[in-house]
């Protein structure tokens, strides 16, 4: 399939697929969003619609789960997140909400992927604050309320609370796809091992599904997992674990599906300016009395120990382990993306290459291949 001219008049900053992968939205500094549809069976992308969505650079896009209709969120340098709705399969969009709580340009927006949590979107901007909005009434998607906001890393910001425009900064957020087995949570909740329970497989799967609402956010070089936990009788998001070891600005974060490992652990990938793609393994364990983080910067597989933020005795949490890290880009890495099962990771960056990593039987990741944007790269030994 050949390259497709989008018709944008400025650089494209983000691309988002709808839930089925049949619609593709692009956003640009030209302030427009363009929607493309995948033609069956040729699989070519053709332009479906185009509309001006913001009054400044548009940085990020996200489609909502389809049970809420065709909803597209965008965020921009104009400090807003906007929600657009289409009732004609993407031929036209109407703005239905503007969320303008951010104190700076909004860098990334992401709808919660698992519809079971309700219609929620998270965003993070140059003020370093991650915000979660909730549309409680599916009958009225114009109404969104700010359910949560928290500074991810106040140390990385200026005293004004906003990253300076003339300095490099980056912020990212991604939801846990969830909706899949969380056997480990079940194990800890009840204090029994799922494997010891004599249950039909399907029943076990159903029981094990404790849909934990969680997302990962990065601000400058800090990456933090937020999870909804019971606190004083109410469930609310809290920063729970930190993914350590980043020595420069984190450009992107991506939370993988845990389906292929049967929910035994979570995988989160980060793309960093320091040139490393990192894959963190988060395994559920009971907190309390575990030594603080001892992160040895270096080789892949280094165990980070307990990196929980403010862990309480008997809390459930993740043991964070650096499963793998790769510096093959030999330059800044800007984007990481998982396949649906969490078995293939892509990374891309300044070397003009997309690198693919696949999970081997042992759970470790190995190189799968490289797609190069530089002509004549076939047959080459990639350098």
């Amino acid at each position: 399939m050949n390259a497709i001219a989008t018709g944008h008049e400025d650089l494209i900053h983000d691309i988002a697929y709808d839930h089925y992968g049949r619609l593709l939205a692009t956003c640009s500094s030209d302030q427009f969003i363009k929607l493309f549809t995948r033609v069956v069976p040729s699989a070519e992308w053709t332009l479906l619609s185009s509309f001006k969505a913001h009054d400044a650079n548009i940085f990020s896009l996200s489609f909502a789960p389809p049970q809420y209709g065709l909803l597209l969120a965008s965020c921009s340098e104009d400090q807003t997140v906007r929600v657009h709705s289409s009732i004609d399969n993407g031929h036209t969009f109407a703005k239905i909400a503007t969320l303008s709580d951010s104190g700076g340009p909004v860098h990334q927006v992401a709808f919660a992927k698992f519809g079971g949590h309700g219609l929620k979107l998270a965003c993070i901007g140059a003020d370093g604050v991650v915000r979660v909005y909730h549309a409680a009434d599916p009958a009225d998607l114009r109404q969104w309320h700010l359910a949560f906001e928290k500074v991810v890393d106040k140390d990385g910001l200026l005293s004004t609370g906003v990253a300076a425009r003339d300095l490099q900064g980056d912020f990212a957020v991604d939801w846990c796809p969830s909706g899949t087995v969380r056997a480990s949570w079940f194990t800890y909740e009840l204090g029994i091992d799922m494997d010891d329970v004599e249950l039909p497989r399907v029943d076990r799967l159903t029981i094990a599904e404790l849909a934990v609402e969680q997302f990962v956010a990065s601000s400058m070089s800090k990456v933090v997992v937020f999870r909804k936990r019971l606190n004083g009788g109410i469930y609310e998001y809290e920063p729970t674990e930190e993914l350590p070891g980043h020595t420069d600005i984190v450009r992107d974060v991506a939370w993988a599906s845990n389906a292929s490992v049967g929910g035994r652990y979570e995988l989160i990938a980060t793309a960093c300016k320091d040139g490393w793609v990192r894959i963190f393994k988060l395994t559920t364990r009971r907190m309390g009395g575990v030594p603080a983080t001892e992160y040895r910067n270096g080789g892949a597989g280094t165990v980070s120990g307990n990196s929980e933020i403010g862990a309480d005795e008997d809390d459930l949490g993740y043991e964070v382990e650096l499963l793998d890290q790769f510096d093959h880009h030999k330059s800044e890495v800007w984007k990481v993306s998982w396949n649906f099962s969490g078995t293939v990771l892509s990374s891309s960056g300044d070397d003009g290459r997309v690198r693919f990593w696949r999970a081997a039987y042992t759970g470790k990741f190995v190189g799968l291949g490289v797609a190069s944007a530089e002509q004549g790269s076939n047959d080459e030994m990639d350098d």
């Binding site: 399939m1 050949n2 390259a3 497709i4 001219a5 989008t6 400025d10 650089l11 494209i12 983000d14 839930h19 089925y20 992968g21 593709l24 640009s28 992308w45 389809p66 049970q67 209709g69 289409s86 009434d137 599916p138 009958a139 425009r165 490099q168 900064g169 909706g179 899949t180 497989r201 799967l205 599904e209 389906a259 292929s260 929910g263 093959h328 800044e332 800007w334 984007k335 993306s337 649906f340 892509s346 300044d350 070397d351 003009g352 081997a360 039987y361 042992t362 190189g367 799968l368 291949g369 797609a371 190069s372 944007a373 530089e374 790269s377 076939n378 047959d379 080459e380 030994m381 990639d382």
Partner: protein, 733 residues
């Protein structure tokens, strides 16, 4: 999975990885025919070899080492690649970077060029390539049509085998069905690789053929013969050229390479060719001993034991070969003597001769297996002898896989096969699993890992799920895996399957029901109902929502129906909705409950159109007084009342109704939020009239009041209501 990849990937595969054979020329010897039974396989694993997860890890680490040492991963160029060859540095100097994202389900993503956030923004002018998007596939994962056929055929065979085989039950050797299915799978794979012309699939075929020859040989063929057949097929020797160079000369025997040629034929088990060669070569038999020796030699070659009885007959035949060797020592013709003795040494399985004449570890192993002692348990021993002379070239993936197979390290072989083609690897793992060849592999190290066969099937199934048209095949495999991972993958992907038709929807919901995926079923139904709404199939959407008891959505849709009609005028409902509106008793209870306001409005409009003003007014009045009516609709409904309370019309509402409406109006105006929302909506409704005046129905009340403000409309309604009450009073009703 080379066969899966687009043709554009293929060139890159040829570079870093040499291959054994290009499969040109004849593809091996004719099939052996025998009806007798070969001795049942004895696993080399049982002969002391302990296979661990290290076997798997080794191959992963080998990949990693390779990657670290020379970074030799497969590279392909994006179509219309935007960076000119060798100009990466220039591109980077433009402060550009490459980004890529994968879609929710499929294996084909999109790459694009973005600017780097440096020093307050990007000032470099844009070039056309920088506003393009570049489709890119995960290497070896996208199915071509031809490869899809292979996947489908393989799955059908897998299903048939599963139906025929009872996993876990020890099989009677005579009832072993696996060789038959293995042969069929090999035929399917052979056909696929010939259609697809892909080196990696061809390499996978070599590995698969080697495995099946070594462990799943047809009962009618001796295993050693099967292994030699495998070798002759993927690396045929002597070549067609060598045969022609010798045998087309006037006197082949006079050719310097004659004996080498004959010995190669023997070494490869090509007995009839070898015998014919000796007969037709013009060997001068000056004395009777020479003639007798030649006759003995050709006779031994022609009576080489074959088929199921070959194993039993081998010892006797070998004794004849030994005697033949002794007979040849007495020959006076030195050249003939040396040649025939070497031939005899091959036939009697002399390891020194065989290894000296062999050119590869495969040839040495296969020849020792065929001639020395064809007991399957000795195969790893022969392998060790051969590799001591000819090291395995581990840089050739298929060679590494075949070496692992011959050495008896099946998990490692499967791991290597997985690097070539995961579909092939999964299926051959299934055969090995059914033959209980992987039992020794599962131990303490694999406790936290899924069974290797399952893991391979999951990897294959994930690819199936991520390719259009093979999702249900992927699901079928996943359902057959142990543990919860397979079901989790189905659960993760099932909502991403596009609901193109109701048949797809039904199929997915049936699967949800079978697997008790209640949450996913609800999500799918909700997504389908949204699709139906976007297709204006409101009735169908409501029915599906009713099927999952989603009252919240039904309520939302029915209010949206009313809203849409108040804004755009009456629109014709679809067939299902029309049926429910006309015959409420046909309507499911939950839908009936929530559709009531819209149904009332629909009835009001119907009577109005028919000129039945009294009936129309009663429906409208009841709607206006509906206790749960959202405040935003109130103003617009009052507007609808205007034509009905005009003095030019006969009186449509009794006093009590008029007073009740006035009371509702009063209550609405008192509630600031409701009033504000109602005025805003009414204003929107009026402005819609102005924007689409031409499309408005003539009897739409807004045609007359389109230029009046919302508040004025309410004022007018109140005034008319008061007038109408007084009129009723004067008329004494």
């Amino acid at each position: 999975m080379s066969g899966a990849g687009p043709t554009s990937f293929s060139p890159s595969f040829g570079g870093p990885r040499p291959i054994f054979s290009t499969f040109e020329g004849p593809m091996g010897t004719p099939a052996k025919e025998s009806s007798s039974i070969t001795k049942l396989f004895t696993s080399p694993l049982a002969s002391g070899r302990t296979t661990t997860v290290e076997g798997i890890r080794d191959t992963s680490e080998a990949e990693e080492e390779m990657k670290d040492e020379d970074d030799s991963v497969f590279t392909y160029t994006l179509p219309d690649a935007p960076i000119a060859a060798g100009r990466l540095r220039d591109w980077q100097d433009r402060k550009r970077t490459l980004k890529f994202t994968l879609p929710p389900l499929y294996n084909s993503g999109i790459a694009w060029i973005d600017g780097k956030k440096v020093d307050g923004g990007d000032q470099v002018p844009i070039v056309p390539d920088e506003v393009k998007i570049f489709p890119a596939e995960i290497p070896d994962s996208a199915y071509s049509d031809e490869y899809t056929k292979f996947v489908v055929d393989s799955h059908e065979l897998y299903r048939a085998l599963s139906d025929a085989d009872q996993i876990g039950e020890p099989m009677d050797p005579s009832e072993n069905i696996l060789p038959k299915y293995a042969t069929t799978f090999l035929e399917i794979l052979d056909a696929a690789r010939r259609r697809i012309f892909d080196e990696r699939l061809s390499e996978a075929y070599v590995v698969c053929h080697c495995l099946f020859a070594s462990y799943f040989a047809d009962p009618g063929i001796m295993r050693a013969e099967a292994v030699m057949d495998w070798l002759n097929q993927y690396d045929p020797r002597p070549t067609t050229e060598e045969t022609r160079d010798i045998m087309t000369t006037p006197v082949p025997y006079d050719e310097p390479g004659f004996w080498e040629f004959v010995q190669k034929l023997a070494l490869r088990g090509l007995f009839f060719q070898c015998s014919n060669c000796l007969k037709e070569a013009g060997i001068p038999c000056a004395d009777p001993e020479s003639k007798r020796a030649l006759q003995t030699g050709t006779s031994i070659l022609e009576t080489a034991p074959k088929g199921a009885k070959a194993f039993e007959g081998h010892r006797q035949w070998r004794a004849r070969a030994i005697a033949f060797g002794e007979q040849c020592t007495k020959l006076s013709d030195a050249r003939l003597r040396r040649g025939l003795i070497a031939l005899a040494n091959i036939l009697r399985g002399d390891s020194d001769t065989i290894l000296a004449l062999s050119e590869s570890w495969q040839e040495g192993t296969a020849a020792l297996f065929l001639f020395h002692d064809p007991a399957p348990s000795r195969l790893p021993e022969y392998y060790q002898m051969a590799v001591a002379e000819f090291p395995v070239d581990l840089t050739v993936i298929s060679e590494a896989g075949c070496a692992a197979i011959i050495a008896g390290d099946i998990p490692k072989a499967l791991s290597v096969a997985e690097r070539l083609d995961v579909c092939v690897a999964a299926h051959i793992a299934d055969f090995c699993d059914r033959q209980r060849m992987l039992d020794d592999f599962y131990n303490i190290e694999t406790l936290d890992l899924p069974p290797f066969r399952d893991w391979l099937f999951m990897a294959h199934a994930i690819n199936c799920c991520a390719n259009p048209g093979t999702w249900f095949i992927g699901v079928a495999y996943l359902k057959d895996t142990e543990g919860t991972a397979g079901l989790s993958i189905i659960r993760e992907s099932i909502t991403h399957v596009y609901l193109d038709t109701e048949a797809t929807l039904t199929e997915l919901l049936d699967l949800c029901k079978e697997l008790q995926f209640d949450t996913e079923a609800r999500q799918i139904v909700m997504a389908w109902s949204k699709l139906q709404l976007s297709r204006n199939q409101v009735g169908s959407a409501l029915e599906w929502l009713d099927s999952i008891g989603n009252s919240l959505e039904i309520r939302a849709i029915t209010w949206q129906l009313l809203e849409s009609n108040l804004l755009k005028g009456l629109t014709l409902p679809d067939a299902i909705l029309q049926r429910y509106l006309v015959s409420p008793h046909l309507c499911p209870a939950m839908i009936r409950e929530f559709i009531a306001p819209y149904a009332t409005y629909f009835a009001f409009k119907g009577h109005l159109n028919e000129g039945d003003i009294v009936e129309a007014a009663q429906y409208l009045a009841s709607l206006i007084q509906f206790g749960f009516l959202p405040g935003r609709f109130f103003g617009a409904l009052l507007g609808e009342l205007l034509p009905l309370i005009d003095r030019s019309q006969p009186r449509a509402l009794p006093t009590t109704e008029l007073i009740a409406i006035m009371n509702s109006l009063y209550q609405w105006e008192k509630d600031t939020r409701k009033y504000t929302e109602g005025i805003q909506f009414l204003a929107k409704s009026l402005s819609a009239t102005r924007e689409a005046a031409a499309d408005m129905a003539e009897d739409d009340w807004r045609v007359e009041y389109g230029n009046v403000s919302a508040k004025e409309v309410i004022k007018l309604v109140r005034s008319k209501l008061v007038t109408e009450v007084s009129r009723a009073y004067l008329e004494g009703v």
